[in-house]
Subunit: 353 residues, 2 copies
DNA sequence: TTGTAAGCGTTATCAG
DNA sequence: CTGATAACGCTTACAA
């Protein structure tokens, strides 16, 4: 770090530190150009940490996600960064599905960042209790903590996602449909399962209890759950898998067992991926705009930071939509026209709840 | 931020601030338990920024990557974070292939972080010149800047990767092999192309100049380059694509044109992906351990920070290896035994150059 | 062991 | 418009 301080500049020019400071803040000062020159000559750079101490701000926003390696969370982070603009930078924390690390990280963030965008691991967590809310502006993304669900959040319309998946499979003539869900203790795990189950009920489709498997949002979990379903005496003919990684696991299991998709087993996943239309067969999924979710979260957070908690918390939801490819046996007429190979623009739809 | 300071604690207990400070630093003090109690009662939390100002450290490491949305970079970041342990946290910056943003970010990092892990966009960049090297310990990952290549770096053995790809395709009987490369101005773009070209030459395989296409590491770039190759009067029968995104683009182009893989066109990519064995046909790739690269970079950086530049810079390389699946027409006997569905451990091989 | 006091580099206040 | 001075909250000589 350059060790030349504002005092060095002041001395060189022959003015007081305050004058230099004022110059830096954009005020009109007499020797503006001389000061400017001195700053360049000495290669002076303001000490950010000292500024932070004075201002009580850090210019940092913590983004706490389970695992950046999951492209979905990466998109959230990217969206958040873009929306942060020049004023704030991102401090990234991966909780790695480890509750201890999560609460450690949360406690640690107090005083180190000006705000936090947070994907909690579990709905029933008490991770937020420890930090008094006035001290750390926070916005949930993708998931919430049950007891804090009145705080700001940006979710996806998960219930609707489950509904769309169920309807799509039923429309393709399936009546033995299974669901591999995320942890029931997580927001999307619960809501997607509910949307699925309630829709089947509304459509009068029978749903044996063994057909609803709770898994853990991991590839391995999806693989094992699929294996378990395949081991049933009477198998399902279709599968709704609640996230991207479990869908990969499910596909691996099906491939390993030599089950043909969609003939022997239709499958619909949640969350799209650049490779989804290259797998065999192209994967039908429920998708939503994760980038947008991240951006909205950041936007909400910045409003909160700048506005000083004067606005009531808001709960936002982004839309989900069905991307029809081949894995449910659809023909081309179902093909979603919105899904081009190289989308030019983001569809920025969202709505307040 | 909790506004209770060390002074409040001192007052409450009736000792001096220094005593409380010493207690916090783990020294033996007389009223240790009373102080401890007061800290709890008042919910005192040390102000990190004030500490940072005193110590001249921030506890932050910048990780500058082109795009966290690329799973390869996400793995690097994750590896770096894991290796950082409890002492340092990650500040993430995406340069988004924007040279201006990159140099803006680099300049901005001075004084805000204790060190930087950096994936530069171009080899011939002057982005590093502006920050005097003593001030910001830095380690290159995956790519270097030509004029600074004597600094610390953790690369992959890209040349060897190109060689493995070329050999693999030749061994499968191909003699008309094309290469879709990354920017020749980037470290991996250049080295992979060199490994490929020189190996073909060594094997006496003719390589028409139109068969070497320079692209840009993006999906769209890979798509367009493939389309261009397919438009040639005499097409290649095999393709080595220099990164993951361009390979996706290439596969989309082949699919769109109805070219069967590997019968009409064999293809080998660079960098593995969880979905690679689910695409049609399963994708043969050159892979390397990105997580390890990130971890080694962080480890190197921390040594540098702690050791105070007393060690000479080192250039590390991680191994690449060939993961044989179906896209080059291999049969099972070629299958790499190391590639299990759910790898339990990381192969932590690396070597100093 | 403890307290006093100086200082990290900056900005805000208040007289001039 | 400018300069002296006092913070911001913490650590660390230095003396006791």
């Amino acid at each position: 770090m350059s060790n030349v301080t504002i005092s060095d500049v002041a001395k060189k020019v022959g003015v007081s530190e305050s004058t230099v400071s004022r110059f830096l803040s954009g005020f009109k000062v007499r020797n503006a150009d001389v000061i400017n020159q001195a700053i360049k000559d000495l290669d002076y750079r303001p000490n950010i940490v000292a500024r932070n101490l004075k201002s009580g701000k850090t210019g940092l926003i913590a983004v706490v996600v389970p695992d950046i390696t999951n492209p979905f969370f990466a998109s959230i982070v990217r969206g958040a960064e873009v929306a942060a603009g020049d004023e704030f930078m991102i401090q990234l924390i991966n909780t790695g599905d480890d509750l201890d690390k999560e609460s450690w990280a949360l406690r640690r963030m107090v005083g180190r960042v000006d705000g936090m965008i947070y994907v909690p691991l579990q709905e029933n967590s008490s991770a937020v209790d420890e930090l008094d809310n006035r001290s750390l502006p926070m916005v949930f993304v993708d998931r919430v903590i049950e007891k804090n669900k009145n705080l700001d959040s940006v979710l996806a319309d998960n219930f609707r996602g489950g509904e769309l998946a169920a309807r799509h499979l039923v429309e393709h003539g399936h009546s033995r449909i299974a669901h591999i869900g995320g942890p029931i203790s997580s927001t999307p795990g619960k809501a997607r399962a509910r949307g699925f189950v309630e829709t089947l009920r509304a459509l009068k489709v029978d749903l044996p209890s063994q057909f609803v498997v709770e898994s853990d949002f991991t590839t391995l979990g999806g693989y094992q759950a699929t294996m378990a379903l395949l081991a049933l005496k009477s198998r399902p003919t279709a599968l709704f898998v609640a996230n991207n990684l479990m869908t990969i696991g499910a596909l691996k299991a099906l491939k390993e067992k030599g089950i043909s998709v969609p003939q022997e087993m239709a499958i619909i996943g949640f969350d799209d991926h650049e490779l989804s239309d290259l797998v065999d067969p192209p994967l039908t999924v429920i998708s939503r705009d994760a980038h947008l979710q991240g951006a909205l979260a950041m936007q909400t957070l910045l409003e909160k930071i700048r506005g000083g908690n004067q606005f009531p918390p808001k709960q936002l939801k982004v839309d989900v939509n069905l991307v029809v490819r081949g894995s449910c046996g659809s023909t081309c007429r179902y093909r979603n026209s919105k899904t081009s190979e190289f989308p030019k623009t983001l569809s920025a739809s969202s709505r307040s709840k």
